[in-house]
Symmetry: C2
Subunit: 237 residues, 2 copies
């Protein structure tokens, strides 16, 4: 087999508290399960533990609909749609998602986790910290679980990247027939987040995964803006 | 490592012609590269070779904008948006995508590949054929490359499934804090398609991949309708 991928969930990460260094927790947990990180790996880290480590927790009574709505509006720069309790909005980062990405699951009762202020910075910090500790270069994707227009079910996407492309532009490449390929800008960081989610599961509390075997050409400096369609380009907001 | 995934591209599939049995081509190619299919695998097969095998090819001069537009309209049941040459429409299957899923790359000059009439049936045929040949049970995902609202870059999604859930409903499960999880219907077949795409690449002409290690609970009878949001539920069309 050439060109294959391996995706390994990282279990054994302890409960994350504000101020924790995620890189240390991830490196130790990966070593503890005998899947040490290697140069060229991409590490996918869920938003939830990034938000916890960065103290992005606020008090919220999940049963208080008004408080919930106020918090979502505060975390949004634009409301796109409302239906019953559901609010689809655009966050300060430009992400369009339900409830401004505010998370009520896997946090303590009476609290909610907000999105990181700058998930690219969060990703860069983890990347730099892993480089210092292990002398290896890895890509980092901070992932979150978003809904989609038109399709049912949620998928994980990238809300922050470091050292890995958000989008790889294959336009201008030629296909197997020598014809120029059109419209093949692939959202590799989103696909990496989705692939990792398959291995992490949702209820098991696994907050990170190693994705090994990605094309080396995809590892470069990047920001999540590559993945955010500007409103002027967007036909659906 | 427990719970890991392995994704293996299947290369060596010959050029597909109308009437070809895809299962035979895939089984032989996988055996030829020493990654034989195993019970419990999921095989991701790209729309392009399914459309070719099913003879869903029509003559089209790619430079004739009017002919292109007529074909897209003919393959759509509803146009959602137009901008310049781009048409976002809903296909007869209910998929919302660009250009009704009509594909001009990796087919012969002067032809275009339409979506399969019924990709679930295509997937079922491949699944049944593999079961007959190898006496194993596998899941099948027929994948295609779609754009998204709000986010840049394309990702692969499922347009047909057999033997694998489209969406896995984790609602009612409890998280690591014993709190009930909300809104965790995960589009596993779409995530499987995306994961496979990372291994297949676009220009290399690799038309299938093995995804090994998926949760056995996800293998069941299913249709792609699980992944199609009905217009009445959809806030964005």
């Amino acid at each position: 087999m050439t060109g294959g991928l391996v995706i390994m969930p990282i279990s054994g990460v302890p409960e994350v508290r504000p101020g924790d260094r995620l890189a240390a927790l991830i490196v130790d947990a990966a070593a503890g399960q005998e899947t040490p990180l290697l140069d060229g790996d991409c590490i996918v880290v869920t938003q939830k533990i990034v938000s916890k480590a960065e103290g992005r927790l606020v008090a919220l009574d999940a049963d208080d609909g008004d408080a919930r709505r106020r918090l979502i509006e505060q975390e949004s720069r634009r409301i796109l749609r409302r239906r019953d309790e559901l609010i689809i909005s655009e966050t300060a980062h430009g992400f369009v998602c339900a409830n401004a990405g505010i998370d009520l699951s896997n946090v303590d009762d009476g609290t909610a986790a907000l999105l990181p202020v700058d998930s690219d910075r969060s990703a860069r910090d983890i990347r730099n910290d892993i480089r210092s500790r292990l002398k290896i270069s890895v890509g980092i994707v901070v992932s979150d679980t978003f809904g989609r227009a038109w399709r049912r079910g949620l998928t994980d996407v990238a809300i922050g990247v470091a050292g890995l492309a958000g989008v790889v532009d294959l336009r201008g490449s030629t296909d197997a027939h020598g014809r120029e390929l059109h419209a093949t800008e692939i959202a590799v960081a989103d696909e990496v987040a989705s692939a990792a989610e398959l291995a992490m599961g949702k209820a098991a509390g696994i907050p990170a995964a190693i994705v090994r075997g990605l094309d080396p050409a995809w590892f470069r400096e990047a920001t999540v803006e590559e993945l955010v369609r500007p409103p002027a380009e967007d036909l659906f907001r």
